[in-house]
């Protein structure tokens, strides 16, 4: 039986909710969360990277000074371009809230103020 299909993720991809009279505060707090998540993700990766590298190089190079090797590294143009793309993606991720709720009235207020019942997915499709 084929049932009506609404796009997945209306809740997480729509305007979401707003809790402050000034929506910019909502956006800033959300950006802070994304920023911290990004900082942790990169720090975590760097820690894993250093572990993997020193285990790998322990045999051939004794105990290598990973930090010094990183400072001395010279990227190729290709590598620089790849890093630029990653950086742009980080910027979009951290600042997505501002595009998501650009105007003061662009999202329903939170609980207890102006509440809309969630619509069943079948209705959303029609």
């Amino acid at each position: 039986m084929k049932q009506a299909q609404a796009p997945l993720g209306a809740e997480i991809e729509g305007p979401g909710r707003r809790y402050f009279d000034d929506v910019v505060i909502d956006n800033l707090l959300e950006a802070m969360l994304e920023l911290t998540a990004a900082v942790w993700t990169h720090r975590d990766r760097a820690m894993v990277l250093e572990q993997v590298l020193s285990r790998l190089l322990a045999e051939s190079h004794g105990a290598p000074d990973i930090a010094r090797l990183l400072e001395q590294h010279r990227p190729t143009a290709e590598e620089q371009e790849a890093r630029r793309l990653e950086r742009d993606a980080l910027v979009s991720q951290v600042f997505r809230s501002f595009a998501r709720r650009p105007a003061a009235d662009s999202a329903p207020l939170g609980a207890g103020r102006r509440y809309q019942e969630p619509r069943p997915r079948a209705e959303q499709a029609s």
Binding site: M1, Q3, Q5, A6, L8, G9, A10, E11, I12, E13, G16, R17, Y19, F20, I25, D26, L29, E30, L33, E34, T36, A37, A38, W40, T41, D44, R45, V48, G110, A111, G112, R113, Y115, E117, P118, P120, R121, A122, E123
Partner: protein
């Protein structure tokens, strides 16, 4: 290449997903364990000051009082945002390996020891097709919903359920019938079958079933059980209209089902459970609390917030309903059940008369 499993939990597609979601987990732990108690203390004090003892403020009045606390709005913002971040990243991570997940679930269908049963003509009722907890597609509409739900709830449980610990505890503590006879067991609204498998391990000789309305979850439940060689059967079915004969089960377990369905459906489910249970059988229920009168103002606010802003559309009517009365009227004797790690939940043993 799938990065495989950590015991019973799938690893994310990429290290970066794991790091990101680890952060969300830590953040959630802080919001739940540090911010919320603070909010509770400050919030109950503020409401208490504005409403003299003996008067019971309604939810609108509670909200008006709490609105004065900046912490309340920040907390609401953080709860909503971290939940969205969790699903967005979990879904993206599972989707990066969509083909492998779908193939694994399809291949498992032909494998036992247990069976996965569903009717292609089954129609999911509209009330069940909401994005509960903000999960994309809800329980029913995303073919990847099983692994997405599993990793998402791993974050929700703040890492404390990575090896099904909470489900194992509930199954282990479930009250067996007094006469000790347990031949057939049902996990009602079993989702991904975590308690179903734990029940089978507790009662190895019993024929064990898990039913749920959501096929994507059941496919994953079956994959997990088949991988572990556990003989449990899953079937797509409605709790209010079960494909089982009268007096069939000795023990039925339900974990956090009733606050997630409309009360009018609960009024059909409870008599239906009574129908499929034999006299003396035990219905072990772990659920949201009832009787909002006995909840603190901030606890009422929390349930209301969760209902509005975390897409739990039916929980408010459940919390205010006479669930124990419905159980009694449907043929059960109602008694308190065992205490479990999650202290927010009520635990009930309803014995079929």
């Amino acid at each position: 290449m799938r990065r495989d499993w950590d015991g019973l939990l799938p690893r994310t597609a990429r290290l970066a997903d794991e790091s990101y979601l680890d952060f969300v987990t830590s953040f959630r732990a802080r919001a739940v364990q540090q911010m919320y108690p603070m909010l509770e203390e400050l919030g109950n004090a503020v409401v208490g000051r504005e409403h003299p003892a003996g008067t019971a403020p309604g939810i609108a009045e509670i909200q008006r009082s709490l609105d004065a606390l900046p912490l309340v709005r920040v907390w609401q913002r953080f709860m909503r945002s971290h939940q969205e971040m969790m699903w967005r990243r979990t879904r993206a991570s599972i989707a990066a390996e969509a083909d492998q997940w779908l193939a694994a679930m399809r291949d498992a269908e032909a494998r036992g020891p247990g069976r996965l049963l569903y009717d292609p003509a089954f129609v999911v009722p509209d009330y069940a097709r909401v994005e509960v907890h903000l999960q994309p597609g809800g329980y029913t509409d995303d073919p990847l919903g099983g692994p997405v739900f599993h990793y998402g709830t791993h974050v929700f449980y703040q890492g404390e359920n990575a090896q099904d610990e909470q489900h194992v505890e509930m199954a282990r503590k479930a009250a067996a019938p007094r006469d000790g006879a347990v031949r057939r067991v049902l996990d009602l609204a079993c989702s991904i079958g975590q308690a179903t498998v734990a029940l089978k391990q507790r009662f190895p000789a019993a024929e064990t079933w898990g039913i749920d309305v959501a096929l994507p979850l059941l496919r994953y439940a079956h994959l997990r059980a088949a991988e572990r060689g556990v003989d449990v059967n899953f079937q797509q079915a409605l709790a209010e209209q079960m494909p089982f004969p009268d007096r069939h089960f000795d023990l039925v377990l339900s974990y956090i089902l009733f606050h997630e369905i409309p009360w009018r459906i609960t009024e059909r489910v409870v008599p239906e459970v009574a129908r499929v249970m034999r006299p003396g059988g035990t219905f072990c229920i772990y659920e949201f609390p009832n009787a909002s009168g006995s909840l603190s103002p901030v606890a009422q606010f929390l349930i209301d917030y969760d209902s509005h802003d975390n897409c739990e559309p039916y929980s408010r009517e459940f919390v205010r309903a006479d669930f124990h009365g419905l159980l009694r009227d449907s043929g059960f004797d109602v008694a308190p059940g065992p205490k479990v790690a999650n202290g927010f939940l009520q635990s009930i043993v309803a014995t079929r008369r």
